[in-house]
């Protein structure tokens, strides 16, 4: 036994060396795939070294989206929009014609051609950070963007702040992203749960009256919580009462045990603070439970889904008919900017973009515009150019990134699910009830506690 043991020991050293050599060789071969290292550079010209700096006549963007997992469809749409944005930045087209005021030339940014690398966030904050680190270190990206969940967005914002590379959030709706977890190096164009509540409250009162009792089912994670709090606040402001709230675990697929208490209560409105698969399941089951035909206190019961997305609307099928919610943007909007984007997107891909795609596209363009205005890629200067700056032509009305929390303010939409007979295509799922003007939504900078942190060039 001991003899054998000894032999194994001597073997393990030799095998270790041999295997090590073999693996190294193998990996070197793998390197011939054309992904040679791009050196991380923090070259300073007039500025002290900080973050990344473009090398040569090209500048690299990093698009970090979910390519696998539950939100991969959303990620794919974001990626299409990013590619389109890069194409337009280099060759003109799309919103470049409608952006006002615009410093974009359609010939790259500051004379440099825009290229990009992509990564897979797997809708997992850890994987997202890992992927983003690779972009920052290996590929030397000057800006990165993406994400289809608030957790990944928040995780990447902290990394952006640490690495001093600007992150343009994509689809993230939690109040925390530009609230508690706001960062100097993170910017959000997408709206948030608080704005959803503000926009939805008056419409709900108008449609369903001011004497309602709401029952909430809320996905038990940070986005769900902020959504619930905002909805509660703004429906109660309209005179509604909040009957009860149940936190449902994120992984729930069968909601019957949570829907039964709703049936046993006095509530006449069901608010589903759910997203993605959660919402598809809870809404479908609520309809199966006969919630929409139910009469309580002499009123017909109503269901509300505060945040809509095309993916969810598709998943829930016919059940969305007449159900109110909010949306950041819709491809049927008639303003010049939206139409310019939709036209070029449809020309390239053959179908209209989603709201996630719109945000991805706009974020990329507005970053590029800020660089042109700043006249440099130096991140602190670009951040200052983005802060408190208003543009129009990228959607309905004007857009402003507020300097105090990096949240963009613009018109948002209250939407209603369309009846199957009213749809003109498989993408035509939501009807705009009201375009809520920017003036009607908003809050004070210090409403949510949070600190942006340093620019990085303070002395």
């Amino acid at each position: 036994m001991s003899n054998q043991g000894k032999k194994t020991k001597t073997l393990s050293r030799r095998s270790f060396i041999k295997t090590g050599v073999a693996v190294t060789g193998g990996l070197m071969l793998g390197n011939q795939l054309g992904i040679g290292p791009v050196h991380w550079s923090a070259r300073a010209q007039d500025y002290p070294a900080l973050g990344n700096f473009p090398v040569g006549d090209k500048v690299v963007f990093g698009f970090n989206v979910p390519q696998t997992g539950a939100y991969s469809d959303e990620g794919a749409d974001e990626l299409r929009a990013y590619e389109l944005a890069v194409e337009h930045l280099n060759n003109g087209g799309g919103m470049l014609a409608t952006l006002m005021p615009s410093s974009l030339t359609g010939a790259g940014i500051l004379g440099k051609e825009v290229t990009f690398v992509t990564g897979d966030t797997q809708t997992n904050p850890d994987a997202a950070r890992d992927s983003a680190r690779r972009m920052i270190e290996r590929d030397g990206v000057i800006m990165f963007s993406g994400g289809s969940s608030s957790a990944t967005a928040v995780a990447q914002q902290y990394l952006a702040q640490e690495a001093k590379v600007i992150f343009m959030d994509c689809l993230t709706h939690s109040n925390d992203t530009t609230g508690k977890d706001r960062q100097r190096y993170g910017f959000r164009h997408f709206f948030n749960a608080y704005m959803s509540g503000q926009a939805l409250g008056p419409i709900l009162a108008e449609r369903y009256g001011t004497d309602r009792r709401a029952f909430h089912l809320t996905a038990d994670y940070t986005w769900g919580h902020t959504q619930y709090e905002s909805m509660k606040q703004f429906t109660e402001a309209q005179g509604w009462a909040t009957e009860d709230n149940i936190m449902t675990p994120l992984t729930t697929t069968d909601f019957s045990q949570y829907l039964t208490p709703v049936l046993n209560s006095d509530a006449d409105v069901l608010v589903l603070n759910h997203y993605g698969g959660n919402m598809i399941n809870s809404l479908t089951q609520a309809v199966q439970f006969g919630m929409r035909e139910r009469e309580v206190n002499g009123k017909t019961m109503e269901v509300v889904v505060p945040l809509y997305s095309r993916l969810m609307a598709q998943g829930a099928g016919d059940n969305i008919e007449g159900i109110l919610g909010t949306s950041n943007w819709d491809y049927k909007l008639s303003d010049e900017g939206s139409q310019a984007f939709v036209t070029s997107f449809e020309a390239k891909y053959g179908f209209p973009p989603s709201q996630a795609g719109h945000t991805a596209y706009v974020q990329t363009l507005l970053y590029a515009d800020a660089v042109e205005r700043a006249g440099t890629f130096y991140p602190p200067e670009v951040i200052r150019a983005l802060e408190d700056y208003t543009v129009s032509g990228v959607g309905p009305g004007a857009v402003e990134y507020r300097g105090c929390d990096h949240q963009a303010f613009h018109d948002i939409l209250v939407v209603e699910g369309k009846a199957p007979s009213a749809r003109d295509s498989e993408y035509d799922l939501l009807e705009t009830v009201k375009q809520v003007p920017r003036a009607e939504i908003g809050y004070e900078c210090d409403f949510f506690p949070g600190e942006l942190g340093p620019y990085g060039d303070e002395s």
Partner: protein, 332 residues
């Protein structure tokens, strides 16, 4: 065997390991990776090293190692966030709490074998995951994870980038040396005896349960240590660090590297992280490629990368090697 030769062999082994560990940061960028990935690889290699002591040596396949890693990470992160930036305090407390939990879990789960043991550990790990996700989210940050952790310090030195890498590298060396000493000690022999025939060992009058709990505890300590390093390196703790997918990933890493060889799983960790990170940048089908690689290993090279060199040597050498003991795997 003579004491001196053992010592000499150990020092050569450790020297080579040290060279590989401390050069990774500079060799990786040449291979299409990036330097920080090296730190990540080393942290994961500590994790799988501990896993190998339990699975490779003792033969108990745990599907809940994410629990130790995650708890270590959360405790370390929480201390760094709220109490002190001193990394050693955070690490010691993290490892201490993990070892208590590992001890208790070991006592409960090790009463079962094979698949039942695996499922029990999985169930406990999932329990911790859901605890972190919802009931404890006031402390864990819930779904957003533990954010805003400040850069940890070691006696006033900020640990990030190169400094963090060296710090992690030293721990990896310590972990490897410790694991190797355990493996080659009579204690390790006892663990391997448990793997080959637990019943026979019981009949010889040995308290097998005690050895198993110790192996589980040691394994948990390694995982906890790696978890604390992970929190300090990332300055962020995601809830995914407690998720069962991580436990699964650890198994994949170990299979690709080769169970029971210590250095094999470490290489497996590096290979999987490399593929995951570099492949995902090239194609969105990287999961598929990783799956095919994993299956090929299970089918053609059950002993992992380590047995590859043995197979090759068998081809080149007349001196026939006895059948590889690490090759036969699985829960019998």
């Amino acid at each position: 065997m003579k004491k001196q030769s053992l010592f000499a062999r150990d020092s050569i082994y450790m020297l080579i390991a040290a060279i590989v560990i401390f050069s990774l940061r500079w060799t990786l960028p040449l291979l299409g990776g990036y330097s920080e990935l090296a730190t990540r690889m080393l942290i994961f290699s500590i994790l799988v090293l501990g896993f190998d002591i339990l699975v490779g040596l003792t033969g108990y396949l745990s599907f809940g190692h994410a629990a130790f890693w995650g708890i270590g990470a959360y405790i370390c992160g929480y201390i760094l966030l709220h109490f002190t930036q001193n990394i050693l305090v955070a690490m010691i407390l993290g490892v201490l709490i993990v070892s208590i939990i590992a001890f208790l879990l070991g006592i409960i789960t090790l009463r079962r074998h094979g698949i039942y043991f695996a499922i029990l550990t999985l169930a406990f790990a999932e329990m911790f995951y859901y605890l972190a996700l919802a009931p404890l989210q006031k402390w864990t940050g819930g779904d957003n994870g533990l954010t805003g952790i400040k850069t940890p310090q070691l006696f006033g030195l900020e640990l990030s980038g190169l400094a963090m890498y060296i710090f992690v590298g030293i721990w990896t060396l310590i972990a490897l040396y410790t694991a190797r000493r355990i493996k080659n000690s009579p204690y390790g022999l006892m663990l391997r005896a448990i793997k080959s025939n637990e019943e026979r060992l019981t009949f010889t009058g040995i308290n097998v349960f005690r050895y198993k709990v110790m192996a589980f505890l040691i394994s948990g300590i390694f995982a906890g240590l790696a978890g604390t390093l992970f929190a300090a390196y990332e300055t962020y703790v995601p809830t995914e660090s407690l998720h069962w997918t991580l436990s699964g990933e650890i198994v994949i890493m170990s299979v690709i590297g080769g169970f029971g060889t210590l250095i094999g799983p470490m290489m497996g960790a590096a290979i999987v992280l490399y593929l995951e990170n570099v492949l995902s940048a090239i194609t969105d089908q990287w999961n598929l490629i990783l799956g095919v690689i994993f299956m090929s290993f299970v089918i053609f090279l059950p002993g992992g990368v380590m047995s590859l060199s043995k197979q090759l040597r068998r081809l080149f050498s007349r001196d026939q090697v006895p059948a590889n003991r690490t090759e036969s795997q699985g829960g019998d």
